[in-house]
Amino acid sequence: MGLQESFFNGFNYIIRILTEEHIVCSNIFVKVSFGIFGSVCPTVTIKDSKFNISINMASSTDHSDAWIRSNVEPATVDETFKDGYIDMLAPRRKQFNDLAWVMKKVRTPIYKYKHERGYEQLNRDVLHSDRVSHTIEKISRETKRPLENVVKEAEQILLEMAHRFSMTSVRILGYSLIKILKRLHDHIYVNVQGLSQINELVQEYPVLLVPSHRSYFDFLIFSILCFNYDLPLPAIVAAQDFKDMFLIGAMLRNSGAFYIKRSFRSDRLYWSIFTEYVQTQLYNGDHPIEFFVEGTRSRTQKSYAPKLGMLAGSLEAYFKGLVPDIMIVPISISYDRVLEENLFAQELLGIPKPKESTSKLFKVFSILNENYGSIHINICPPISVRQMSTGKIHRPLHNLEPRFLINITEREEALVEDIGYAIVWQQQKNMVLSVWCLIATVLLQNQQGIAVSQLTETIRWLKSHANSVGAYIDWPGGMTDEEVILSCITSHRHYVDLKDDYVTIAAVEHGDRLAKSKHIAGDALADAATHMVLVIYRNQLIHVFVPYSILSMIILRASKTLQILPRGETLRLFTFAVKLFAKEFVLDHKSVAQIFDNALQVLTHTGDVIVDYEGSIMLTESVTRFTTFLSNMLMPFVCGYWMLCEYIVHTTIDIGMGKETVVRPKELVRSAQYFVLSLIKEGLLADFELLNLDMLSNAVVSLKHFNAVYYETRNEERFVAARIPVVREIIRDLHCLSELPNIPEENLRQSASTSSLKAKL
């Protein structure tokens, strides 16, 4: 939270600085252009906002009658259009007049049953709805609070929640934003097909837009895109955290953001207002509603398992026959380089938030001098809720109660979960991966460094394997592979060093704020921070490989002792791993056998795994470059989970409190991190990634699923307690999954005791 805030203060500052003159100007211009150009505007409307742009642009300047234009370099790919993508920024660079763009007349398609209403009317409708008045009345009756009192509270809740969408605000914001985007990014690509799909959908059905969430930019990028292409602007669900941010909070609100608390299931009034607010907008199709099903920005850059509250609240409108269908459009937004890469890395390590200072502001400014490559926005095919529900739910069950009472059936809840997962998988599947992801992945497996030529060869090899398992990699055309890689390394020079044709992970200048970190001697964590940046980029691509990696890992481990691994045992270990990493990788835990079969099939087809006629894996034949690579990719996760287990086991014994030992979850994770760190310092562990707090706390949740730990509430605070025998069992299984580093018992015990004491301090 703290980091978000500081980041955003910075961001806010950038916008101010960057657009100071322009905002002032544009305020004036806004008026002027309304007054003077008012009716002229339509003619100023810029052509590029239409989808047929490719046709328009193709027939420009060249007048010769040759059918191939002479001025086009045959070997280069036109950067404005590629693979069905179109670059939104290109026209903005060609036509310098952003002001005309931002003032253009916007004519968007509208939902066929929509009644025009402004946000004030919308709010009134919500307050006077059956649902909300019923709840207000009920609460007043039950708590004996005067009715006006509850009404006041409801008004207050709604006031804090509701957006105040205005086109003028969007224009002002759009103006600043387009300038920033042009400065930071080379291209913003969007798939043309997706644009026309949204154009049609919004007219027919209520639409939920569900982008992946990996950067703050996700918030507005789609709105800008809609503005540019004359699509209706979404109302966006935002977390409460943004609300109170100076300027930003209000600006987002005026551009369609509405704010919801993170947990409010128990607050009936809040819940009913929120549900009504969302459903009435779906019903009337005021705006498409945009929300992030992962709930929060993914600091790790991996997809998170879906959060289902918002989805359930929306889909209830279909379950109860308020709307004929709801179309869910997953959207994958991929960044070549994430603006927050550093912040994320530090947050994952728990490096505390920096103090406000001028020096920090300088850092923020330097962001503006950086290049953040391209953004790919991939609008996925829609998921029809009606289609997904066929045969799974029974809507007439809702006939016996008025529809304003909130309730959904168990089968509907299960369906919501299925749909949530389907959305996340769609998003994952349609991510565009950068060359940098590949490089990060390879470097993490070559931490001692790698020669450029070897790197190039490895990347080429990895790329073809990635393609064969369904990854889309954005590989620039018109350059040699080595050029591609070198240019990529240059633009990420903060994190990699290139010396004498040799590439290494960069050593960091140790900033002062790291030193301030109370918990851990700064240096190690600082080094880890660079490392973590690479980790988050590797994470962007890891989902493509996970099932294969798990399988490969099992093979490699077994090959150390066995010749052959029967299918049953492989599947058992596979299932264990999928369950263990449930919070780490979003896999379909309901059909593990299917994932397993699929993974096995793919790897046998690539010739990496050899299976005998009974379906057993021939282990020695199956240790290949690819399976080894895949296996290594997962190592940090297995190791990290193992470390947590070891820590639990050792502290419990050492302190001698047996099963009863309880700690706060945060403390547990923190001290496990110390534990790892001290082992790293002793040279017994090497991988900085094990310091990842996100991973360690995922491990706690996972242990809970295995009943190896359980939560206890004391004085309204949650504590974790362990069941040591179960933890030991998991350690045993971890050893079957992978060959873990050999650490003497004595060191484990020592580190564990010092770490647990440290965390208490």
Partner: protein
Amino acid sequence: MASKKGSFPLKRQELLKWNGWGYKDSMFSLNKNGNITFTGSRYQLSGTEMPSLKQWIQDTIGVDLDFKTPSQPELTAKDIPIAKHNEPFLSELRNERFVHSDDPQDRLFRAHGHTLHEIFLLREGRFKRIPDLVVWPYNQSDVERIVKLACKHNVAIIPFGGGTTVSGAVQCPDHETRMIVSLDTSQMNEILWVDEKNLTARVQSGIIGQELERQLAEKGYCTGHEPDSMEFSSLGGWVATRASGMKKNVYGNIEDLLVHVTMVTARGVIEKSCQVPRISTGPDIHHFIMGSEGIYGVVTEVTLKIRPIPAIRKYGSIVFPDFEPGVACMREVAKQKCAPASIRLVDNEQFLFGQALKSESSSFMQSFIDGVKKFYVTRVKGFDPYKICVATLVFEGTAEEVAIQEKRIYDIASNYGGMPGGEENGRRGYMLTYVIAYIRDLALDYSVVAESFETSVPWDRVLDLCRNTKDRIYRECKERGIHFSPYVSCRVTQTYDAGACVYFYFGFNYRGVPNPVDVYEQVENSAREEVLANGGSLSHHHGVGKIRQKWYTETVSTVGKGAVEAVKSYLDPQNIFAAGNLFQQAKL
């Protein structure tokens, strides 16, 4: 044997179409000017040319007038299944001199009602199973004797009234191996007595609606029960299906009109011992006779409430800018309990269709506006013709009563942006309800399949149900590869305290679709699913019959069905009344 005065002839096919709706002389057809006319002389519309109708069917349904799909010629004996004969039964029947026939055409006529499926079979296919014999009883005692014989010889009976059912209710189950007798009630058509003190009348169950009203009118009375099928449907049929009439707001539905009923079952006669306005003697046996769809026995006589014919009947209409305010207004009228004899709200699609049936060739909006009072014309002109909806009204009572009702309704309407649309536009609406049934035969001639379905639904879900069901139909059609956009229209056709009855028309041009009826039924089934999911009922008045059985148990609960089944097995252990409606009866 000659038929009785006022009844259908024994050979109904001499008066009525064998393969379509209504009288043989009345139909929509293309005349030599290339315009569509309505033939015959029975109806107000008869003999008029409808210049815009042709355009409308071309534009709205994509009909190509050069692409005809005519019916097969009238079937001859060789194409009609041979009758099964239970000789002992037949010989006793003959001995007792019952009027009966095993003529193939007579049997074919009683093999079907008027679902699309049945009419399509008549036009293009063959029935697998039809009644083996038609028997015409003339009174209750005839019925009792026939039923006894059937029980004795294990012969199946299906009561047949007007044959207007739209649920497959009179169709013979394919698997029935016994001889099937169609018990034709048409000759039981007398009014036995009229009791003017209590305003009741005892009537034989075979009487047809229009005949009942005609005979009562001679004495200055009416029942006021006017289902749209009243020209052809029978009193017994209404009881057996729980029918609903257009003017139920004043007179009530069949369950409100019925004071006493007598039914002959395989166990004997079931009836109450008194004719009282209300009774508290446990579960009301009337309520399982009503809606029994011919599986419990034969309704023979009914005592109905009657009313003096009102001094005035006056039409009216209200124009709404859109469907939504129209529904809101209907709801308000119901809330204030001031609905006139009839109030119906048609959507824009149906409004436009009504305009296309006009004989004037001027623009439809113009001729519509001609009917609107001067004072409102400019307001109505401001409405979007492709959104306009019209409510049609029937007022009944004395002149003063009607005046008061009118004022109240138009006042309410004005709160919802509704303008009085004039008497003429209202009258047209009702006139059309009788001829509209004929249009399907024209449609079928040009490769269009169509049918109506209905439901009842709580007020808060009326709008959503209409919108979602329409959407579902469009989408299902698209997904099934139907090339032409379907025609879907609905009207809110009755108002109640707690909800409304909604009536849908749905049709599509099936050119290029190999199995139109199958596709039609799939789409209709989805539409029904949608209706149920939107809080609608399985049926407001058409009944379950065979085509809606799939949802019967779900609708009444398993236990509920068990109870209905238990009554059936008590009343009819041999399953003599083997029509197989409501649910599949256990085979014996």
